[in-house]
Symmetry: C2
DNA sequence: ACAAATTTAGACAGCCTTGTCCAAATCGTC
DNA sequence: GACGATTTGGACAAGGCTGTCTAAATTTGT
């Protein structure tokens, strides 16, 4: 094991800074080692903090774990909603716009540090903390998926897509644009950017083969940009 | 011969039977508790065997873990290949046949005990044993995905599908038919049969909207059933 | 039924981990 | 510079786990 704490050696200044540093370090260690294998001494070392400080801030290991999951869920959700806000409601080039959106979603929410950690914690410890992860499920997929579905519904209403069930379309969209990244995700790896772009491109093309309409939507006049929210 | 293995309380008879029983019990415990949290005493108890016998058979915890992964990989692969052998090469009703195939694949290989366990072990411990899981990757996805792609290529060659890249199509097929099961898989759950059927049905419909051709393939005469393997 | 191989239960050492306690050092703020 | 709050590091008890060892019991093959 590397006890030579290279990256986080500078003692964080301030009370709140220490708290954050602890939660951050704990996220990494819990992910690498699992809850049972995680070592409070190691977390303290990686946080640049003494063990006692960890206990001062979080009480015990389980409370620390819960704080980590809450934190990650919150940050990931924020990222996902921010990215959904960039969904192409009035696309210029629908294919390019959807590909760009899919790539942003992957890079900013799924492949980044928080996304990777949260995913792994859910996979590894989800069964042990039913209520905690039920909460994640409600706050996470339970809110983001409908939000995404609403965007697809809007595209359909605007005549850009021919979909019957926006919820199904949203889930299939995600399934398609991630189709080529599954093995990498499984093993906890981070796909290279070109792999993300490749998978998104292939996924969006197939999505549009299934649900796309001709470029000029029939019977629906392009309205002036009134509502944008 | 009472093989009454209901909860796992009856001591298994015979040398090989014990070995299998140990690996089986270990799979369950490793999955529930993770490698670090897994307890040899508990594994022995669930296998209906004394702790010393576990050590006699497998040496130490890490060797036992490796044996578990090897075992699961082997059994899962066998199941996947057996299921791929039921792929509809000469479909009567393409949609129904593909849905049936997707459901079989899910029920026999992904949602069953072995599949669930192997998936979880890869997710949780994959990073800790790079060579072991590299082996899985070669033996698993590295062999099954091309096999599935070959079946899609055959359907395309037979005029049933319009796909350019069979490998991409195979991955997207899997992504689509599992699109609605992702959250359940994440949390380690087992989807109900009707959920599997639902997801497969929606997935196959979208797949065929993207890649399907008219029911009567043009320019390709239906040949007598010669090769079926 | 007998001999060899295997299994069992229990004890045991060695190690690691969590969580607590405390006195000294440090920090932040006035 | 001084004071209160926070942090530090080290010691510590209690408990858990792995892996080994033993002698007795059991199973297996013949």
């Amino acid at each position: 094991m590397r006890l030579g704490v290279s990256p986080d050696t500078f003692p964080p200044r301030g009370h709140e800074a220490k708290r954050l540093s602890i939660v951050d370090a704990a996220a990494g260690v819990f992910c690498r080692e699992g809850f049972a294998g995680a070592n409070i001494d190691l977390i303290a070392a990686e946080a640049g903090v003494s063990r006692q400080t960890v206990y001062n801030h979080h009480g015990d290991k389980e409370k620390l774990f819960i704080a980590v999951v809450r934190d990650l869920t919150e940050r990931c959700n924020a990222g996902i909603f921010a990215t959904i806000a960039t969904f192409p409601d009035q696309p210029g080039n629908l294919e390019q716009d959807l590909i760009g959106f899919a790539v942003r979603l992957n890079q900013n929410c799924i492949c980044n540090r928080d996304g990777k950690f949260l995913r792994k914690l859910i996979q590894t410890e989800g069964e042990r903390y039913p209520e905690l992860f039920a909460e994640w499920r409600e706050q996470g997929p339970g809110r983001t998926w409908p939000a995404l579905a609403a965007r697809f519904a809007r595209l359909a209403y605007g005549g850009y897509l021919a979909i019957e069930d926006p919820d199904v379309a949203a889930r299939q969209f995600l399934g398609l644009v991630n189709a080529e990244l599954q093995t990498t995700f499984m093993l906890g790896g981070t796909p290279r950017e070109d792999e993300v772009v490749q998978s998104a491109t292939n996924g969006v093309r197939t999505f549009l083969r299934a649900f796309g309409k001709r470029p000029a939507p029939a019977g629906v006049k392009k309205q002036a940009t009134l509502a944008s929210a």
